[in-house]
Amino acid sequence: MTLADSVNRWVEGQLEGVSFESIRDKKVIRDALLDTNRFFEHEINVIDLPFVQRLRRIAQTGFTYLTYPSSTHNRFEHTLGVTVIATKFANAIKEKHPLMMDEKTMRELRLAGLLHDIGHGPFSHISECMYGNLPDVAQELKTNPKFSKSKSKPHEMLSYLIVTSKYFKDFFEDNLHSKKYNTLIDLNNVANIIVGDMENPLEAYISDIINGSFDADKLDYIPRDCYFTGLKMEVDIDRIMYTVSIDKKKTFGRQSLIIDIGGEPFIEQVLFNKMMLYSSLYHHHKVRTLECMFFSIFEACRDHNLKINGFSFDKVTDFLSVTDVEMLTLEGKPDEIKPYIENIRNRTLLKRALVISKSTIKKPEGVSEVEAAEAIDMKYYDLIKLSEDPVRIRQLRELIVQEIDGKLTPYDVWIDLPEAPSFREPSHTVIKITEDEIRTLDKIFPVNKWLTTYAENKWKGHVFCPPQYRKEVNKASLKIFKEELGIDFNDFATTFTKME
């Protein structure tokens, strides 16, 4: 069975027995950030679909709410927000290029906003790391030009497969399409917008609105994550909208969405906020700890053939079939896994046993300053390149566990080396300086390089372990890093853990 077939079957299960009442008029939905907004009749029916409603039970930012208590916002709210902001983009385009944003395109864009995240699994990007590595998913992402061309993320690919599934298309035609609401929506266009790959490069600006360098997705999640965590940052969405237009000269072989030079500082503002979100939120060590603890549950299931709520999580639709709520109940969990669920439920966290950064690597003795610096550079290189190598990381964890004979499992010890945050937006954001002069943002001001330099210096990795074993794991980690990678850490690597 192909991936598309299994997704089609999952959609069939989701829509079985679903029927709709006709919605007589548009409905108003309020949002904490975006105020009052209206949704079309057919959109209300789409919002009511089980696989859209399940987004209410998927946290927007994973486990951040266990560090920032008010960040309990979910994918559902974000989905509505993206739809509203996509409409602002569409209106801005319509004002400047009336022929390039018709009613049909507007409705397809809005539907893409509503459906762009339906491929998310429990705790959003945390489970995405896992199902993205399933062989059939990885293969499809790599070999299917629809996804490899636009470098789709796993959840985007799944959203695409759900929207283009035969069962959903038939359901949409029978229940929501022209017969009932006189809409003229082409679901293929909706799916193409979601993965950022229009068939016609002259229509690239349409998918740029949902899946581009400064898209509705980003303009919603950045202020939303700031607002609900309580981090004080602003994004001036309306100011950006005044400067949006289309590159009709096709400077990069496509009609891209562009920003007038007057909007440049406000795009930079978005990027600086994104950078702060990484250092304050996404890479916060307690947030990372919880992600590791969540991975442990799946790792243990995979290693010992255990099932959660009847699912073995060896196929992607298993991830679509559960939400955060089901994952954190004790019901349906094997006894071996229950302690790990309870640790998360009770917020009993793993703690730092070692801090990994360039400044925690020990200088070699008896050599010149320059030689010492070069040696540290290469040791650090060997270490951080493991950040995308789960096999070697797991092996190192197993070796550390062996040092503390018979007391811990590999699921209790984590080496967390966060992936580098991506700041590619400036090199893909097209800025109009004059009618004849169009450049990418990084050619005007290298904001991506500034952000990258900041992130490089802020970056920290950790070894996490149960609090009652910090000293043992610290000692074992120092030994294993020395033996396997030839890396000696200085005293700061331990002091920074605040274990004393």
Partner: protein, 148 residues
Amino acid sequence: MYRISTKLIPARMDDKKRQEISQSIKSHRALDDIIAYLFALLQSERIPTDENKIHNAIFELKKEYPDFFEDFVFSRGDVYPHSKDLERILFRFQQSNILGTMNPTFEIYIFPNKSKKVVLEHLSNKFSHKEKETLLKMSRKLEGLLTI
């Protein structure tokens, strides 16, 4: 107190398994190693930081030497071909100081010949003699693509 699932505590690892793991950790070749070795073979000490140029150049090299770059996936629907793997590798090169940039313009990566020598020595055992010859050819082509 943090709870440990005692039922999942592994058995003592035997020496053979221990050695296998150790060997795997020490001998593994990462994508980073390929790019680092390639850059270290460039004759120029200056590499443009322009993402468009670098990503395009590796994209072109992948066409000619697909075996080396099999795991690099490039998006092509955007302003220029872009590889997330390559983006992260370049980030790590700067993190570990293999590549340096000059404030405040950040236009050029500096990769001094002395550092190149250190990198080539450090990674020497990751490549066969034949692979090294291919990498040398690739570096000449890369030099042209980056128009240093």
